[in-house]
């Protein structure tokens, strides 16, 4: 006779699941509204999405229940909260970029906004669990929505980008599952804290573990665009709209970074040295190679694609050194990066043309920005500030992230790593400078008659202005950000 299993509802702690439920319901709600009345304006859906995200953020911030729920699958620790805050705020800042003055194909579908919210839920699942299966489900939910969002841009190269991303993503998903399978075989669990116990006890077979970590390297490498798993990045950025490309450079990566943090913490903490060495090598290769590739790009968007690879490699060093200060620095860096990159991509989005004037291949060749200062001085200055921030010139936002990260790495005794990172920053300065050179030092191509603000609307200008203000005055925001970050990070024991 089968024994009945009784589970009391209160022991499930459904409240841990609330943040994701809200977004998913919000997405379904948008679909329902579309069923009832067609042809509603995109502005309605943008605002609804923002409101859903605001409610979600409120729930995340106000949560003070137990740290585990749903059979221990959901983990609501400090890192999860912090990760969700970054994901939600970044999403809230990106979704208004849909309010362009030109019409774009994707925004005429309410499904776009539903997908956007589902994607957010997926990323939230990824950061709010340490169960490999749930991470996988979150990853796939988010990725499938993202592929569709890219394809909705409705250009030939968008389809290409979406298919490319999908194929690569499918491969990465396969790797992730293989890794989870092997880990389950070795340790008898797919929960990272159980796996950590086995690894710490040293009571496991080495060879399969090697396979598991190698597969996980590949899986996370695809998501975080580490070299040599980066090949999809420039094409996907090129194919996606600038707004989506900016989003891809920030939100999926913070989710991936948190998973990487949770995962590699086990092995680096337990002193699995070759995992450390491989990660070290991948970080250095990622930073250096992407920097060199970025030097030779002809399109600003592709340059930013390689630059975001390089930044991902840069912050991954925080996962490598695995100290509390480094983890704080990772989040600080990423918050600063969010504002800067949001601004940079929003500027590209504003200058978007339906038809390319300079180059059949690219929407945003460097040539397009030649002499921009003479035509649009304020826009050029703002763009230059974003570039300087990306290059790490003080006092702009990313400098403080870099300062804190380098400080944490030196603090942990890895001076060589810090040295290599500094060398890379010096190389990186060149390609950011290149855009500034085009905007400020070249003569404008009067015949081309470029209108840099073709796509501008009040919403877009507000977003750009907001990120510019944060980027410029970041020095005053570091202290409160650091306090918030370190309280969350320390609370979850990282």
């Amino acid at each position: 006779m089968l024994q009945t299993i009784t589970v009391s509802l209160s022991s499930l702690h459904l409240s841990t699941l609330m943040p994701m439920i809200v977004v998913i319901l919000g997405g379904l709600g948008i679909l329902c509204i579309d069923l009832i009345k067609k042809d509603l304006s995109k502005s309605l859906y943008v605002m609804l999405s923002i409101l859903v995200l605001v409610i979600d953020l409120g729930i995340v911030l106000g949560y003070n229940g137990p740290s585990r729920g749903m059979f221990g699958m959901i983990l609501a620790d400090g890192i999860a909260t912090l990760g969700q805050i970054i994901i939600l705020v970044a999403s809230m800042l990106f979704i208004p970029l849909a309010l362009t003055s030109k019409r774009f194909h994707e925004y005429s579908y309410p499904e776009f906004f539903a997908l956007f919210l589902f994607m957010t839920a997926g990323f939230q699942f990824m950061v709010a669990t340490d169960n490999l299966m749930l991470i996988f489900i979150g990853l796939e939910t988010a990725s499938l929505s993202l592929y569709t969002i890219i394809a909705l841009h409705n250009l030939e190269k968008s389809f290409e980008a979406a298919i490319k991303y999908f194929t690569m993503g499918a491969l990465a998903a396969g790797f992730f599952v293989f890794s989870s399978m092997i880990l389950y075989g070795i340790t008898g669990s797919v929960e990272l804290h159980q796996i950590a116990k086995v690894v710490a006890s040293g009571n496991y077979a080495m060879l399969p573990l090697l396979g598991a970590i190698a597969f996980m390297f590949a899986a996370l490498g695809f998501k975080l665009s580490f070299i040599p798993f980066h090949t999809w990045v420039p094409d996907v950025y090129e194919g996606a709209s600038s707004a989506t490309a900016g989003y891809i450079s920030i939100v999926p990566k913070i989710a991936g970074l948190i998973v990487a943090m949770r995962f590699f913490d086990i092995f680096i903490g337990a002193g699995v040295t070759w995992a450390y060495d491989v990660l070290y090598a991948i970080i250095i290769i990622t930073m250096t190679f992407s920097n060199i590739m970025a030097l030779v790009q002809e399109s600003v968007k592709r340059m930013l694609a390689y630059s975001s690879i390089s930044h991902a490699g840069f912050v991954m060093s925080a996962v490598l050194v695995n100290t509390t200060a480094a983890h704080n620095a990772l989040f600080l860096y990423w918050i600063m990066f969010t504002f800067t990159n949001l601004g940079a991509f929003a500027m590209l989005w504003i200058s978007r043309y339906k038809k390319s004037k300079f180059d059949a291949k690219y929407d945003h060749p460097y040539q397009k920005f030649a002499g921009m200062v003479a035509i649009r001085p304020i826009a050029a200055t703002i763009m230059a500030i974003f570039m300087l921030s990306l290059a790490g010139v003080p006092p702009f936002a990313l400098f403080w992230g870099k300062l804190y990260l380098l400080g944490a790495i030196i603090n942990s005794g890895n001076t060589t790593l810090a040295f290599l990172m500094v060398i890379n920053s010096a190389i990186a300065a060149y390609y950011y400078l290149k855009l500034i050179v085009f905007m400020f030092l070249r003569e404008p191509d009067r015949k081309a008659n470029v209108a840099y603000m073709k796509n501008a609307s009040t919403a877009l200008k507000t977003i750009v202005g907001f990120s510019a203000v944060v980027t410029i005055l970041s020095i005053f925001t570091i202290e409160p950000f650091l306090e918030m970050i370190s309280s969350y990070v320390v609370a979850s024991g990282f």
């Binding site: 300087l388 010139v393 603090n411 500094v422 060149y430 050179v437 400020f440 202290e479 650091l482």
Partner: protein, 508 residues
């Protein structure tokens, strides 16, 4: 006058932002007005400065990122005071002499922002704040060279930016390492130079940290072999860019040596003295020879600039009161004199659109006023007694003479070479027969140019004859720094070196 120093730092920035509203036709007057106010403010700083006090004055402090020990901590001593006055003075003069029409609004605003960063660098007492202004100063200069420069301006400006940026990133590494060490030893996060100066750093660590800081500063100075960006930058920059670059921006590097390298790493400074002195001597002699081989007047002055910066570095690493006081004074005189020379070359370039010496000749007859002022500045550049150039050069060399007479003799040949190429330049362009018909039509200096140049002449003569009001405050601060270095010295060599210094002074 509680916040006078902050006012001096940020006044040009706010004025610059407001400058966007000012009409294009009036922007130059606006710029001059702002720069004059700024200069008067810095004079007020000088008059309120207590020359007897060796400590930092006008100190301001408030926390920026207190968990990491980054504070807005500024203040000045005798060393930085005059560099601030020099910055505001030269900015004012170069704006008066400004005669660019294209995009003048952007140019004036950029100059004002640059002025903020210069004053900021010299008054920062928190290393991160220092680094912030230091890096920020690259951006306006990049724009000035790149937008208003000559044919190769883009290349020159990028080279300038990347060189300095790479060097200062290594310095940042050193800064973070030192802060981390301070934290390990004391348990406190701080980036305050006044705290750091009290820390005794192990000898081995000093060597590495010294090198990290050295690269950052040496590229800026620019020391041989990192000097290659400078001739390009000068060659392509518009006159105002060259003037500010030579007069103030290069001084940031040598100021860095005096403010950071010496008091933080006394043992390493002693250890590296022969090495740096060798580099400095190569720099003095080699660039003097290169200067002699130039055909372009501006390049002559650019290379002579490098050569003189070598004397400044040599004086600094004499590690005695004469040498360092002399080198700080030489920074000021070199700022005024090379600024004036670049301005003078700019004057002739505006009239003839060439800077080649072979195009001129007999200018002394055609432009007597111009020739007179050029002559005075050339004398000062060569280091003739009773000009400002003599005091600094003499003190720097006599300071190093106490360390090594032979090396000083080598450096001295550079000075002789300096006289040769400067006199050669003067002879080629001002005496003899005119080599081109066009020269006879050249007009002499106009009122605007005289207004810019005469104050420089007066300063050169005044401080050449009576340098005491400037030397005393510098000397007090330098002596305090040397006492501190002596207290901190660990290695026997350093103890001995810094003791010898004392003995010589007693003997005097």
């Amino acid at each position: 006058m509680d916040h006078l120093l902050s006012l001096i730092i940020f006044f040009p920035l706010f004025a610059g932002i407001l400058g966007f509203i000012v009409d294009k036709n009036s922007i130059k007057a606006y710029g001059i007005a702002i720069a004059t106010v700024e200069f008067l403010l810095s004079l007020a700083l000088w008059f309120n400065y207590n020359p007897a006090g060796a400590n930092f004055q006008f100190v301001e402090y408030f926390p920026l990122i207190s968990t990491y020990g980054i504070n807005y901590h500024i203040g000045i001593d005798g060393i930085s005071l005059f560099l601030i006055v020099l910055s505001t003075f030269m900015t004012m003069i170069s704006l008066i002499a400004l005669n660019i029409e294209k995009d003048i609004k952007n140019l004036v605003v950029t100059i004002l922002v640059l002025e903020m960063t210069m004053v900021g660098v010299f008054s920062a007492l928190d290393v991160i704040v220092f680094y912030l202004f230091w890096e920020l100063s690259l951006v306006p200069m990049l724009y000035i060279i790149g937008a208003w420069g000559g044919k190769l301006r883009v290349y020159a400006s990028i080279k300038f930016f990347l060189y300095t940026f790479a060097g200062s990133l290594l310095m940042l590494l050193g800064i973070l390492y030192l802060a981390n060490y301070f934290h390990q030893v004391t348990g406190i996060w701080t980036f305050s130079i006044t705290d750091w100066q009290l820390l005794v750093i192990p000898y081995g660590m000093q060597i590495w940290l010294f090198l990290a800081f050295f690269i950052g500063f040496a590229i800026k100075v620019p020391m041989f072999p990192f000097h290659t960006w400078l001739p390009y930058a000068h060659g392509q920059a518009p006159t105002i860019g060259s003037v500010i670059l030579a007069a103030v921006l290069l001084k940031m590097g040598t100021y860095g040596f005096v403010r950071f390298s010496l008091p933080l790493f006394p043992d390493a400074s002693v250890y590296f003295t022969p090495f740096i002195a060798t580099l400095a001597i190569i720099m003095i002699v080699y660039t003097a020879m290169v200067a002699f081989a130039q055909k372009d007047m501006k390049q002559v002055i650019a290379y002579s600039s490098i050569s003189h910066m070598g004397v400044i570095v040599l004086g600094t690493f004499a590690l005695n009161a004469e040498g360092i006081t002399g080198s700080v004074f030489f920074m000021l005189s070199h700022g005024v004199v090379s600024g004036a020379l670049f301005m003078l070359v700019g004057v002739i370039y505006d009239r003839r659109h060439t800077k080649l010496m072979s195009e001129f000749g007999g200018l002394a007859h055609i432009m007597p006023k111009y020739a007179t002022i050029f002559g005075i500045m050339m004398m000062a550049s060569v280091g003739l007694p009773l000009t400002m150039g003599f005091v600094g050069e003499f003190l720097s060399l006599i300071g190093f003479y106490k360390v090594s007479p032979i090396m000083t003799a080598f450096a001295g040949t550079g000075i002789i070479l300096g006289a040769i190429y400067m006199l050669n330049l003067f002879r080629e362009s001002f005496f003899g027969k005119s080599k081109s018909e066009e020269n006879s039509k050249l007009k002499d200096l106009n009122t605007k140019e005289l207004m810019a140049l005469i104050p420089l002449v007066l300063v050169v003569l005044w401080l050449g004859v009576y340098p005491k009001p400037v030397l005393t405050p510098i000397d007090n601060s330098v002596k305090k720094m040397l006492t501190l270095m002596k207290l901190k010295a660990q290695t026997p060599q350093a103890r001995e070196r810094l003791l010898v210094v004392k003995k010589v002074k007693e003997a005097k």
